[in-house]
Symmetry: C2
Subunit: 692 residues, 2 copies
């Protein structure tokens, strides 16, 4: 017979809700009995989806509205992720990286043009260096796939190999990066639309905010498995860029590869190393998202690692080809960034004219940028989930919503992204300087982590791998430095300030959770104070529960607690509270606070008329405050015997209509707030329901 | 031996805090033992002013700040009001009425001038009618003093004699009136300043709002007893008006009483009966405040009634003389309202020039208008106090603040007044149409109430009194009709709509309080369910408390309640809650909600490792919600045996820093909110304090 059986038999209700007397249909409807049919084990209950509904009409309407907007709740068992083939995975995982081609080259040229149109030709060597950088970092991430076949984000790789603090630094960089990805991708996507339809230019902020709202709703609904829908824009965009680049190169060939002279722009700044470095840092934004495949190895069909590496190689080839192609065509076209038209829109016009082909390219660009923004809505909540799992982010990021999406992470991403998008007037250009630092910080730390990994593990071909990651780390670190230094005043300082703050916050969160964990861990049972009566029912209690006679010595001689009942008026609510306190079978003291001596006297007479059944203490409060003197008095009682539990039993009027709250003072709630600081005070609310 | 003595002896603490073991100094400091030295009666405690302070540093700083702004708390015994002599009372009680001379005549002329300057002469007959009206209503209020020597506001007089609903109608009129008095007086006072210093005109709204804020602070501080300071402006203003009028009349006499021709204004509207009536209704605003003395009879030195009547007569004489004087001088001066200068400022200029005398008049005008606004801060909270006492206004208006002022009434008056002042751009003119209806509604109902009073009581000289009040009632009713009809579209409709809404709200409030009172009134003791165990300690409890052995049949065989403990994690917080629930000596059921079957299984193993001491029910929530299924499950348990009390014992983590709330889900609070709708569920919070 298990130790709890005496308690079990005493229960006046059936906890399984099964053999109970007929209960009201509403409640039974909420619950379904679930029988696992295991021998010897008790039954569990399972909540149906109706059990999520509240009782009030308002909460039910809210539930239905949510149901309508984001769909019905999904069971946890629906979580099993689909595996993807390589073609599908390329479409789903590369939009973040490939879409950067839509703004990376333009960001680079926008810096060079500051030194006048003459300097635009420097874009060719810079583009070449960037292509090398892509190759190097991309190959580095191939090594990550080898080492972390279960998916290794920069946070995990850096934490594992460099230590937690470096991991948090990478995570902080990624957090900033994800927020900026949403802002930049949406801005750039809207720019693709307004390039085609200039009349919408003035409405771009509203359009962008609506897009973010749609992304939020879609992700709360859980669109992760809509693979095909997300893969299509990638292929459309690749096709579109291929068309432009090929048409542009054919046209350039027809001119013997002589670059057209661009519309002259006056030089605003002097050409020089600094300008070239800034252009390089801006162009590097074309590499954002290159790490996505290495984070998502488990979504591939087996053999996951090989498929992932192959896919990464293809993506890398596409990225480099598209980036170099766009830079070349822009060069031959003499396209200059600026105005209300994107660079991509300009070269599309000059390559394929303004017809259906132009519309197709702009539509494909917009689509892939939105899908890229969407990819941040997948990555950000997952990163915060990993951080929360390790105790470095609030636990609320652990929670899977109704639809199996990390709702909290989605919302926490959307709000700052929308604010930044609106604050930067919905334009891509001014956002670029903030962008590269966070991304490349994460790249650097992940690649450095891999260097340490290979050095420690020395697996097969570790030397090559180490060299690859070493190159990637060095180049990425160079980009971080260049971007942070050359763009510090243009906005990179925000990131430089924000990233350490995020790390600091994460560590504070972790420190708190650590202390909480220690405080909450049950100590050895010999520590009597920690578990005063958890050692099981006392003999007297057990006897009372099983209704068998007790021996004399069974009576609990030791009083462990006493009850205090604040009584304002001797009405039914107060009497219910007193009755409950009395039923606790422990000493009870009633307290009444009066503004004047006369009022106190009057209350004493009522009390005596009622039969003077319990000890009553009258506190005169000549300054008319009620809650504070009451709280202080109760605290004073508690401090007399701090080792005893003080059970505060408060009558609380529950109003039927919200506006009725205006008509009653909320002494119970205020007393609770005033006394929450005392560990030994247990607060009990005895509700009394008022008529409507 | 009183019935509570067995309980008293069981108390492990000393409720008088006196013979207790040495307690910590902080707590002892808060409380003082107060011994009334009555034989046989127990001692009471008295809270010192320190007992109002909270424990936290924030609450103590807040307390000190308030102390600094509105002064230290005052004892209730400081409430005894000073009695006033007639001269002082005249000064203190008449600003509301006399200050109306500053805007009443101007409001009248502002209507007449719409028909061109030629029609301004009609002001003389209208003024004469208004003077008669003042006399009639004023004499009517003399009769109120006779009948209500303890002070009879329109609300009380109308309620007593015509019935509650008419009283509420009068009260609603007065509520609107008080709010408008503040807005109009402040607007007019600021206009007096900007007439003298036109450069301040653009800052008038800010000035007005600052004035209202100062009035609020002053009244929260409790400036009621600063009699002399409030009496002085009245005499200054009377002197100032006397100077203008006499100087103006002397000047007019020197011209043989030929009116100067006013600066011609084109006629915008046709002259006619309607215009005259509108001018009459506007001029009637000069009568606001005429009832104040009759409400405040108890502040006079005895014989209160006679002194009050004498004072009212003097005030009436002054009011009529000043009103008529200003109308006459304006007529002889050919002053026309409009522009950025008030009428009073214009005639002051023409009567006494622009020197020191002018400054004196404007200063006196400003002062009396501010004092008049202040009088609304006395009257409004007192009216709402009377209404709340009868259950027709929220009880929060009954509460006397730290400084013995009705703080809630003061704030509820200030906010709409400030909003209206700002919404009307700080100008008096557009506010006037709203003003007369509410005031004269209250006048009419008070006077009609008096007619009924005399008819019913037939005291000495009742016929004269009845006739006087009849006249007052008839004339006031005429003003209400005229004002409501002729100014309906200019703004009176707001009042016509608002007044019935206030009455309706008051009646709803009263209905609620009535139902609450009935619901809360203890029924006969035979009603066992209402007072389940309040009939005194059960034998077993009494025995346990007094530590004497019990007989077998003493064991409480009947289970009145059972405890349910939701447990998320088997940590110390949960163990404390379980321990407390066990100590209640009643059946206990632990409930755990898991998102998956595997998690549930894991929890069951922990539970068994802990010793399987209590019954445990596992609820699997495949949709991952926790609070709602828990609430529904607990409700389902409750519905099995609704006659039993379900004691819900919830472990609650109490965070040390406010931002830590972010890091913990607040299941306790959410569960409380979800289950507040069930009468039989008593909620107990077992706090567990987290480290900082």
């Amino acid at each position: 017979m298990p130790p709890h059986s005496v308690w079990e038999r005493a229960l006046p209700i059936d906890p399984d809700l099964e053999f109970a007397e007929p209960v009201r249909s509403r409640t039974q409807r909420f619950m379904q009995v679930h029988r696992p049919r295991r021998r010897g084990e008790p039954d569990d209950l399972e909540a149906t989806d109706r059990a999520v509904e509240g009782d009030s009409r308002a909460s039910r309407s809210l539930y239905r509205l949510r149901h309508l907007l984001i769909g019905p709740a999904l069971r946890s068992t629906a979580l099993a992720e689909e595996r993807m083939g390589r073609a599908m995975a390329l479409g789903v995982l590369s939009p973040d990286a490939l879409s950067s081609v839509a703004y990376g080259p333009e960001a680079m040229l926008a810096i060079l043009v500051l030194a006048g149109t003459g300097e635009l030709r420097v874009s060719l060597p810079i583009g070449a260096v960037l292509a090398l950088l892509m190759l190097s970092v991309g190959l580095g991430y191939r090594q990550v796939i080898r080492a972390y076949p279960h998916g290794g984000g920069s946070y995990i790789v850096a934490s594992d190999n460099l230590g937690r603090r470096w991991g948090l630094l990478a995570a902080a960089g990624l957090i900033v990066d994800y927020i900026l990805t949403v802002a930049v991708s949406v801005a750039s996507g809207v720019e693709a639309v307004t390039s085609a339809l200039p009349s919408l230019y003035s409405a771009r902020i509203v359009i962008g905010l609506v897009v973010i709202a749609v992304l939020v709703a879609g992700n709360l609904r859980g669109v992760r498995d809509a693979g095909a829908a997300f893969a299509a824009p990638t292929y459309l965009f690749v096709a579109a860029v291929a068309v432009i680049v090929i048409a542009g190169l054919v046209k350039a060939a027809s001119h013997g590869f002589h670059p057209a002279s661009p519309t002259p722009h006056p030089a605003i700044e002097a050409a020089g190393v600094l300008l070239v470095l800034r252009a390089f840092a801006s162009g590097a934004t074309a590499m954002t998202g290159i790490e996505v495949i290495s984070n998502s190895v488990p979504v591939f069909r087996p053999p996951e690692g090989r498929h992932a590496r192959q896919t990464l190689s293809v993506m890398l080839a596409l990225l480099i080809a598209m980036f170099v192609g766009v830079v070349l065509v822009a060069h031959f076209d003499g396209a200059t960034p600026g105005g209300q038209q994107t660079l991509l829109s300009q070269i599309t016009h000059s390559s394929v004219g303004s017809g259906v082909a132009y519309g197709f390219v702009q539509a494909a660009t917009t689509l892939i940028l939105l899908v890229a923004a969407n990819s941040a809505f997948n990555g950000f909540p997952r990163l915060l989930y990993f951080m929360a799992r390790d105790g470095y982010a609030p636990w609320l990021f652990l929670r899977l919503g109704d639809r199996l999406a990390f709702s909290n992470g989605i919302l926490v991403l959307a709000v700052p992204a929308a604010v930044i998008f609106a604050a930067f007037d919905g334009r891509t250009g001014p956002l670029i300087p903030l962008f590269a630092v966070g991304v490349f910080l994460a790249f650097t730390l992940a690649q450095s982590g891999m260097v340490v990994h290979w050095w420690t593990h020395r697996e097969r071909r570790w030397r090559t791998a180490l060299a690859t990651n070493q190159t990637g780390a060095t180049l990425s670190a160079a980009v971080v430095l260049i971007a942070a230094l050359t763009k510090f005043l243009q906005g990179a300082w925000v990131v430089v300030v924000l990233v350490p703050l995020i790390v600091l916050f994460s560590e504070k969160v972790h420190g708190h959770y650590e202390r909480v964990r220690q405080a909450l861990t049950p100590r050895a049972e010999s520590d009597g104070r920690a578990l005063p009566s958890c050692v099981g029912p006392s003999p007297a209690t057990a006897a009372a529960l099983s209704e068998r006679p007790v021996e004399e010595q069974d009576i609990p001689a030791e009083v462990q607690s006493f009850a205090v009942v604040p009584v304002a008026v001797l009405d039914l609510a107060a009497l219910h509270a007193l009755a409950y306190a009395v039923s606790l079978a422990r000493p009870v003291l009633a307290v009444h606070v009066s503004p004047t001596e006369e009022e106190a006297e009057r209350f004493r007479h009522y009390w005596q008329a009622w039969g003077d059944r319990l000890p009553l203490e009258l506190v005169v409060s000549p300054y008319r405050a009620t809650v504070a003197p009451l709280a202080n008095y109760i605290a004073a009682l508690h401090e007399q015997r701090p080792e005893l539990t003080l059970a505060l039993v408060v009558p609380e009027l529950v109003v039927a209509r919200r506006w009725h709250r205006l008509l009653h003072n909320r002494i119970g709630a205020r007393l609770r707030a005033a006394l929450v600081g005392y560990e030994g005070i247990v607060m009990t609310t005895v509700p009394f329901h008022l008529p409507p």
